[in-house]
Symmetry: C2
Subunit: 241 residues, 2 copies
DNA sequence: GCGAGTTTGTTCTCGCGGTCACAAACTCCG
DNA sequence: CGGAGTTTGTGACCGCGAGAACAAACTCGC
């Protein structure tokens, strides 16, 4: 649809690569940003790629490659200036200013999200909590009044909200997503265990607690099987039936 | 370390490929399992790869390839038997029996997790809630009494727990992880915004809410920039400074 | 001013994962 | 019993991402 203008004209090209940052790199930039913030809190003003990589839990080569997509913000032989690099990453992500966020579904999880300090501290501001249940109306959670779900479109328009969080039961998730899209939201963080159908141009990220546990269970099963196999060592054909 | 026995001797080899399921496939198996459960609840006994793929939100070719790693559980010209396939996937993941799980850190998020029905319904059973704060001791959350963090090793040993959930502040996360590993836990689901250092053989999966939001913010920024660019169309060099 | 040491930025290679396309195999109908 | 239609299972291809290795560039000491 949108013509992707490949700026092939410029020769060097590494100075302004504001486009085409790989998705895997985008997913790691917030980790680097947090590591840098942690360093800054300890009054560390400069660090090498090795130090930062250790703090972020990644390979130093990967870190350097990731950062190179944003530009050349380090100094060879020296390292990176913590504050400067922090700002550059924050600018690239787009969290130099706060993003207004709404949360729909103020159950146990929704309340936890509303109270989560990390939510509001790093570039996000919860502007409204919505819930369809009548018994939730008027209650105050995390300093915000719970408002009826029907107010969604009005709030989104008034506060210029583009990011929505869904923490409703799975059966209601699609309806909420549809309403969000209709209201103009174009990025959704979905905690409901359901597959969301959204039109192109809308981003959805899924956080699914039971899936994460099941992945761990799979690896646990394999570990257990391997341990058992080490005991049974020597039998060529395992008669499992 | 562990000698990976590559069974290159067998010619056909596709019948018993219980090893070496790609990580990406493992991450999707729970999604398929949920989609199958949903179909079963609607009394659907059989389905094609196309139907199941739609329900799971993936490509049908990818789904078939994923399932082929477990074995040939479909019937050509017909499709898959919902119950049979469900059982096979559950068996592969290892959730035919329940896994005992402990949750450390009973703040807002920990309470939400303890109350989360999807946690206990799909192959997991929360056996204990732990918190270091004295004011939490003796309180009952989700039908379980909150116990002191010092009881960790005892509980893990008594209940044969191998999976632990961390929902404590970032500063305490590493200590909790160390204690879990020392107690014998080998799979950790970490909700704290911190990088965990664990010895090899221990699996850690991270769920980080603010990172997910920041990834969305990045794409939002790009969308906004693209929209602006469409307006500014024609100016060769954007003077951003 | 210059060489030694250090650290970034980049290039190359390899393997995993996603998609397409097709052969194999099963059902149904005449 | 045989052919048409349908659906699975898999081989081939392509592109992204991870890691190692190296050149470029900066600092420091003499």
């Amino acid at each position: 649809m949108t013509a992707r203008s490949t700026n092939t004209g410029e020769g060097s090209g590494a100075q302004d690569p504001h486009r085409d940052i790989p998705e895997a790199t985008v997913a790691r930039l917030p980790v680097y940003l947090r590591a840098l913030t942690s360093l800054a809190e300890r009054n560390i003003v400069s660090c090498s790629s090795e130090e930062l990589a250790t703090a972020a839990g990644v390979n130093s080569a990967k870190l350097r490659k990731d950062l190179s997509y944003l530009g050349s913000y380090g100094t060879r032989g020296v390292g990176y200036d913590v504050d400067y690099l922090s700002y550059q990453i924050a600018r690239e992500i787009g969290v130099t200013h706060d993003w207004p966020v709404i949360i729909v579904g103020i159950g146990n999880l929704g309340q936890a999200l509303a109270n989560f300090s990390g939510f509001s501290s790093r570039g996000f501001r919860t502007v409204a909590l919505l819930d369809a249940a009548a018994q939730m109306q008027g209650r105050t959670v995390a300093g915000l009044e719970v408002r009826p779900f029907a107010d969604l479109a009005e709030i989104v328009a008034a506060e210029q909200v583009s990011i929505g969080v869904i923490s409703v039961p799975a059966t209601a998730a699609q309806d909420v997503a549809d309403a969000m899209v209709a209201a103009g939201i174009s990025s959704i963080l979905n905690f409901a265990p359901a597959v969301l159908n959204v039109p192109p141009g809308v981003d959805v990220r899924k956080v699914d607690l039971s899936i994460e546990l099941q992945i761990l269970a799979y690896h646990e099963s394999r570990k257990a099987a391997e341990a058992e196999e080490a005991v049974d060592n020597g039998s060529e054909e395992g008669i499992t039936a």
